[in-house]
């Protein structure tokens, strides 16, 4: 791991450990939990879009598959939670593969529309055939492993952010490896990748599957934390929300996905005091941030720090 990434990662872990200790309020920790769930989906989309250059507006579909499959298996089939979650990830991976094979022949807007269609199909299936239909279903068991059940908010916070840290570590390793380099190459030129002997289609399918598995894991965690799910949480709106997180944070940086997820999740909470104007202010902030921080928060922050260092060196 590069030095910068290592320090960021250690700082990140420290922050995760300390947050619930510093802030005793259950409310803050709950918002933290949702930020973590969203961060996991956003990291997947960031690798897919920012590194491999493939658009997806269907992440809510994989997120929904994760939530529903895991819930159904644990409620109706009595599977242990972890097994249900793994099964959900496998189903999401297969769905991603079935979607990817035809869809990845498309590019840009066409790919966006194809993935959007996939998300809508999953949404409709959940509405029509999902247990409880549009009103969803509850009594989903809490997360448990080897007889130990997590039911405190702080417990969930550590579980979810621990998994975000694991996902982040895996992703950083991947991005900084030869495979990550190959993914960035796919972003730049399919033609040149072919001439390098890279199997572009296989790389695209695999990165698609990876993002789907992350989203599925997040969806399962969401279901077992909230213990109630309905299709409305897995609509196109969620796909767009995740896209927003990745773009606001900075699409070319994995940390951007995490920061973006936190910002987009926390912002509406902070805007509560504007009462009915909150949606308006929310929209305004997002529009302004896209106008003035086009590269995203994290890349801009990195540039600022570099400049400060350079001017400090110049003064010496």
């Amino acid at each position: 791991m590069k030095k910068g990434d290592l320090y960021s990662f250690l700082f990140f872990v420290l922050l995760i450990i300390l947050l619930p200790v510093i802030s005793g309020s259950t409310y803050t920790i709950t918002v933290g939990i949702f930020s973590g769930i969203n961060a996991m989906v956003a990291i997947g989309l960031c690798i897919l879009m920012g590194y491999a250059g493939q658009v997806s507006l269907g992440q809510a579909g994989f997120y929904g598959i994760g939530a529903y499959i895991s819930s159904i298996l644990s409620v109706h089939a009595g599977f242990p939670i972890v097994i249900s979650m793994i099964c959900a990830m496998i189903v999401a991976a297969m769905a991603a593969m079935i979607l990817a094979v035809p869809a990845l022949r498309l590019k840009g807007h066409y790919l966006a529309v194809a993935t959007l269609g996939f998300g809508e199909i999953i949404y409709i299936i959940l509405n029509e055939w999902g247990p409880g239909g549009p009103s969803g279903f509850g009594d989903i068991p809490h997360f448990s492993l080897l007889g130990y059940t997590i039911n405190s908010t702080t417990g969930y916070f550590y579980l979810i952010w621990g998994l975000v840290a694991a996902v982040m570590l895996f992703s950083i390793n991947l991005i900084n490896s030869g495979t990550g380099r190959a993914l960035r190459a796919v972003h730049d030129s399919d033609l040149a990748c072919d001439a390098m002997g890279l199997n572009v289609t296989a790389l695209k399918i695999k990165v698609f599957i990876l993002s789907a598995v992350y989203a599925s894991l997040a969806g399962s965690l969401y279901a077992h934390y909230v213990t109630f799910i309905s299709p409305s949480s897995f609509s196109l709106f969620y796909s767009i929300l995740v896209l927003m997180m990745v773009i606001v944070g900075g699409i070319t940086n994995l940390w951007g996905a995490v920061i973006g997820a936190v910002v987009i999740t926390v912002l509406p909470e902070l805007l509560r005091k504007f009462e009915e104007l909150d949606v308006l202010v929310y929209g305004l902030i997002l529009t302004l941030s896209l106008m003035f921080f086009r590269k995203g928060l994290v890349p801009i922050l990195i540039e600022k720090i570099k400049k400060m260092r350079e001017s400090a060196v110049a003064k010496d």
Binding site: G178, T179, A182, R184, D188, D194, A195
Partner: protein, 262 residues
Amino acid sequence: MLKTKDIWKSFGGLTALRNVSLDVKEGDIKALIGPNGAGKTTLLNIVSGIHQPDKGDVLFSGEKIVHLSPFRIARKGISRTFQHVELFGNMTVIENIMVGQYAKTRSGFLSSGFKFPFVMKEEREIQRKSEELLEYIGLGHRKNEPASNIPIGEQRILEIGRALATGPRLILLDEPAAGLNIKETRNLGEVIRKIRDELQITVVLVEHDMDLVMSISDSITVLNFGEVIAEGTPLEIQKNPEVIVAYLGEEADIQGGYNAHS
């Protein structure tokens, strides 16, 4: 080493190649020349698998490769460069070379994400080989610069370097001297000769710069309107009246006179 047999290819109503047969001997620098639109790039695209011919066969070391997808053909040992430079512009110079070596590694998503020891070993090996290769092609000083920032002459050399990184036995160069000045072109010629002489890589060269073609080629094939009109050594081609007429109009003199007349 490379043979194309009776290749036909048309795009819509336009016949780009008619019955084109080409024979490239191992260790040769083979030039493919002809006026614009003669079908030179189309032929390269067929060899590298980007286009499928309507009729005909492509044999590489006796093996049929005509139905294979481009990346499989590359893995068989045929690498190439492009008429319009196709570097990975968002990457540094050395990263471009490193991508060229990825196909030969065993690294995958899981092994990279979990940082298996063999992945780290392969990565160090790739890093070392790429630095050597950069020095070899004379771009060591550009190592960490973004590939899109270096001069066009060096970009062309880097593209050749990246093709070399895949460990090819045959390399296809599509107008590598386009846009280069005289000094850059001379340097390019030296690099091409060096990879043939020292690395024993066979070269197929599509090129308009006659000084370059005449000085480094062992054998030349001339295409005009999708047909082979002549084949031979540089000396034979320069004297061939049909070539002179087809290529430059009646009064022109093919030997180095091309730039002066145009």
